[in-house]
């Protein structure tokens, strides 16, 4: 029962990765000549779904129809042949080539063995005129604004004959005026009969431009709605889920002693954008402060600033009685700031090294791992064995390489080696991401137990159950700013969702 009026029809798409279900029974119907938005938090499964539609990954089950015809994409080339094009969030352009050269790259028009740039230029001008896209074909890409680079990417896709365009968070990198231009271009394309699939979590924009909106949560498509009948708050609630987990009714262990005090911290990206803006909060002994937010809103920068990896341009970070803003990472570590890094493979582990060396990482300057300038192998092995035992890391022993362990056991090792060092402040970034339920419960118990002993924890997570279940206070970060300070016991999904997507900030302002 193929519907010819649908440009794309996905039915029952399921895709699992080891230990993670990225997409489960996903349904998506995109009408020809419409702008269809897909919204959802990070990790909701949007990217995986688009990769499947673009032939970068194959679904485990389910069917894909394009213009009513069942397709089976093995590579993006198959998708391109069916007229599907994708504009990635991170541009894939050669800076030292011109717009024209970038656009024809890979599908160059030829005359005999020669490149036919004139034909390419003509085609680009035709496309530009048809959709109202302004582009100078001879400008060097490195001289272009971000908006013009994006137009180049879109043009590249149109040049290859795409009539269905997937745009992955196209507005994330644009300034407001460029967003307006982009939307005008998109309208132009739709008028010509093209179909746009638009991924975003900026709800206002989505409501402004989309003809239809599909909401994803936890790998599933939870609703497809008409923008006419919904407002941003309702949409945010759909994204976050209608029911929030109820926090554990544990007695508060929060004391009056401030362990970490962050005041007016501001940080800039290398190209001068403000990535942390006047961030201020305190963490007390025995308190877990949770940071909620859609990923990419300054969480990584905040961690780096607290760990001394990123310079802060203004503001102070006080740890106990010292201003540590100028301290090295090593000094902060030795003073008792522990970290469970957000990405254990990129920031937490030496995969090709034995567990005892992994346990040593971050504590390599102190006993029992070090003895003056020497590595204390016995001390390190003994300590690692203790971690393995106490935190129930499933391994044959401390001499096994970290790569041999499952993700959950790797994470238990990381959490264990940080906790056993008895830090005063622990920065826990996604402490249970991508691990099984059993390991997750064990890590939560450890965090609660340490909090009772007086540990001050900054918990950064994308898992609302974790945030609400553990935190004494819940801060929301949006665009590098703390936009809300909420009580996890009384917070509503609507509130949380609207602050996380930037709606609440405007409403309260």
């Amino acid at each position: 029962m193929a519907d010819e009026s649908l440009a794309v029809e996905l039915t029952g798409i399921t895709k699992t990765f080891p230990g993670v279900i990225a997409n489960e029974d996903v349904e998506l119907r995109v009408g020809t000549g419409t702008i269809h938005a897909i919204v959802g938090e990070n990790g909701a499964g949007k990217s995986t779904l688009m990769k499947i539609l673009y032939g970068m990954q194959s679904p485990d089950s389910g069917s894909i129809r394009v213009r009513g015809k069942e397709v089976d994409f093995k590579t993006p080339k198959d998708a391109i042949d069916e007229g599907i094009g994708m504009v990635h969030q991170h541009f894939m352009l050669a800076d030292n080539l011109t717009v024209l050269e970038n656009i024809v790259l890979g599908s160059e028009p030829t005359k005999g063995v020669q490149l036919d740039f004139a034909a390419g230029r003509q085609k680009i001008e035709e496309i530009g005129a048809a959709y109202g896209m302004e582009l100078d074909p001879d400008a060097l890409v490195e001289s272009l604004t971000v908006g013009a680079r994006q137009r180049t990417e879109i043009m590249k896709v149109l040049f290859r004959g795409a009539s269905i365009l997937i745009l992955d968070e196209p507005t994330a990198v644009l300034v407001p005026q460029e967003v307006d231009e982009l939307f005008a271009n998109l309208k132009g394309m739709v008028d010509e009969g093209h179909t746009i699939i638009f991924i975003s979590h900026h709800l206002d924009e989505v409501l402004a431009i989309a003809d239809s909106i599909t909401v994803m949560r936890g790998g599933r498509t939870v609703a497809t709605v008409d923008p006419e009948g919904i407002d941003a708050k309702q949409l945010a609630e759909l994204m976050v889920g209608s029911e929030l987990p109820t926090p554990e009714t544990t007695e508060s262990t929060v004391t009056d002693v401030v362990e970490l005090s962050v005041r007016g911290v501001e940080a800039l990206s290398p190209d001068g954008r403000t990535v942390l803006d006047d961030v201020t909060f305190d963490i007390r002994q025995g308190e877990i402060v949770g940071i909620a937010g859609v990923e990419g809103n300054g969480q990584a920068e905040l961690i780096d600033a607290l760990m001394g990896i990123r310079d802060v341009s203004s503001g102070s970070i006080r740890f106990k009685d010292d201003d540590i803003a100028d301290w090295s990472t090593k000094d902060r570590r030795e003073a008792g700031i522990g970290i469970i890094p957000a990405d254990r493979h990129r920031e937490g582990l030496l995969l090709q090294s034995p567990l005892w060396e992994n346990a040593m990482l971050g504590h390599q300057t102190v006993k029992p791992f070090a003895n003056g300038p020497w590595v204390n192998r016995k001390g390190a092995r003994d300590r690692t064995s203790t971690v393995i035992e106490r935190f129930d890391v499933k391994t044959p022993g401390p001499d096994v390489n970290a790569i041999a362990l499952s993700g959950g056991n790797q994470q238990k090792l990381i959490v264990g080696k940080e906790m056993i060092a008895e830090p005063h402040v622990l920065i826990a970034a996604h402490p249970t991401r991508g691990i099984d339920v059993g390991a997750q419960a064990a890590i939560w118990d450890e965090l609660r137990a340490a909090r009772k002993e007086g540990l001050a924890v900054l918990l950064i997570s994308a898992d609302l159950e974790e945030l609400i279940g553990l935190s004494d206070r819940l801060l929301v970060i949006y665009s590098g700013r703390i936009v809300a300070d909420l009580d996890p016991k009384t917070v509503t999904p609507e509130e949380l969702g609207s602050y996380m997507t930037g709606v609440g900030a405007e409403a309260s302002a």
Binding site: D331, S353, E357, K394, P396, A404
Partner: protein, 372 residues
């Protein structure tokens, strides 16, 4: 398990050498020589005591160069500038050594110190440029090589030259106090015939000491751990409090310091001066030896000896009217083959470990159920 692991790790170099022999055999056959015949004359020529002494003498500088390169490799730094660092180090060492007369041990120590400092200074420039200006060390060390070559020519001609009237362009010859005795007595001590026309370099002991220093530094010190961590996972090392910039500079300094000593075996052993025809190219071959020995202290020693053996035994091919370049083909192939073979074997080891860990997890869980 550990015996099996050792056998597995021996598998890679063995397979690589066999493969290199096959390729060399094809090359020999292509130039019209019976490969078995050629190999057997290489072997019988290469195993005379004279050849052994020559092999060791060739291996010493290659080993030191390999260690210098390997120190950088441990943290993912490519010091391509060992060549310039050792030549410049040797020039200054030769100049200082020739112009001093001291108590012998002090004299030798001072010459070594000068070589180390100059080598470190030269590599330090590359380290400094990397952390302050972001210049990639491959580019800067290659360029510094060329600068070193010209600087050496200039200094030797205008400042360090011993006797302007002599046709020999060299620094002043070392006095006896800076000439390390040879080691040919080691052969006679064990009842072998004494090498003829060659003296095994006394610097061998320094090379061994450098190897031990390298092993201890990398495997047993905090610095070595931070070095390896930075190489394996820079992100994790940074999170763990390893300052990346400081690490780059210190590593380059140590690498260059070791590199400065590459030319000293020859200088103490037979040349006793920096001469115009001072051996070149050792720094580049050292990179190949470091790859061959997989940055392991023992592995690189074996690699250096293998290269020394191949170079020495190749000489017989020339006398038999066979191009000795066949051996260069072998050297190249053996390095490539080792890199490939190690990767294959490492994956085998990794799979075994993952399996073992999975089994342990299962048996642990089963044990718990029984206990519960």
């Amino acid at each position: 398990m550990s015996v099996k692991k050792m056998l597995l790790s021996l598998l890679a170099p063995t397979a690589a050498i066999v493969f290199a022999l096959i390729v060399a055999a094809i090359a020999l056959w292509a130039v019209g020589r019976n490969p078995l015949d050629a190999f057997s004359s290489m072997w019988s020529f290469g195993t005379t005591t004279t050849s052994i002494a020559s092999m060791v003498n060739r291996a010493i500088p290659l080993y030191i160069a390999a260690v210098a390169v390997a120190i950088g490799f441990q943290m993912g730094l490519f010091n391509i500038g060992v060549e310039g660092q050792y030549l410049l180090g040797a020039l200054f060492a030769g100049w200082v050594g020739g112009n001093l007369g001291l108590w012998a041990p002090l004299h030798v120590a001072l010459v070594i110190l000068v070589a180390v400092l100059i080598g470190a200074l030269w590599s330090g420039i590359a380290g400094f440029l990397k952390v302050t200006r972001g210049v990639h060390e491959v580019i800067s060390t290659i360029m510094l090589n060329f600068i070193a070559f010209s600087l050496i020519a200039y200094l030797l001609l205008n400042w360090f030259r011993d006797d302007p009237t002599s046709l020999n362009l060299q620094t002043k010859t070392f006095p006896a106090s800076a000439q390390l005795p040879g080691l040919n007595w080691m052969f006679t001590m064990f009842g072998f015939s004494e090498p003829r026309g060659i003296s095994m370099h006394g610097f061998l002991f320094v090379a061994i000491a450098i190897g031990i220093f390298y092993y201890i530094l990398v495997k047993r010190t905090r610095f070595g751990f931070e070095l390896r961590a930075s190489g394996m996972n820079p992100g994790a090392a940074r999170m763990a409090g390893v300052a990346p910039k400081r690490m780059v500079v210190v590593t380059m300094l140590i690498s260059g310091g070791v590199a400065g000593m590459v030319g000293l075996a020859t200088m103490f052993g037979n040349l006793h001066a920096y001469t115009q025809d001072f051996p070149r190219g050792l720094g580049f071959t050292g990179i190949a030896v470091a790859l061959l020995g997989r940055n392991s202290a023992v592995g690189m020693a074996l690699g250096a000896l293998l290269f020394g053996f191949m170079e020495r035994s190749a000489l017989i091919l020339d006398l038999e009217d066979t191009p000795k370049e066949v051996v260069q083909i072998m050297q190249g192939v053996v390095v490539l083959a080792v890199v490939v073979a190690y990767e294959v074997v490492n994956r085998m080891i990794e799979k075994r470990e993952i399996k073992a860990a999975a089994e342990a997890t299962r048996s642990l869980e089963a044990g718990e159920e029984v206990a519960a």
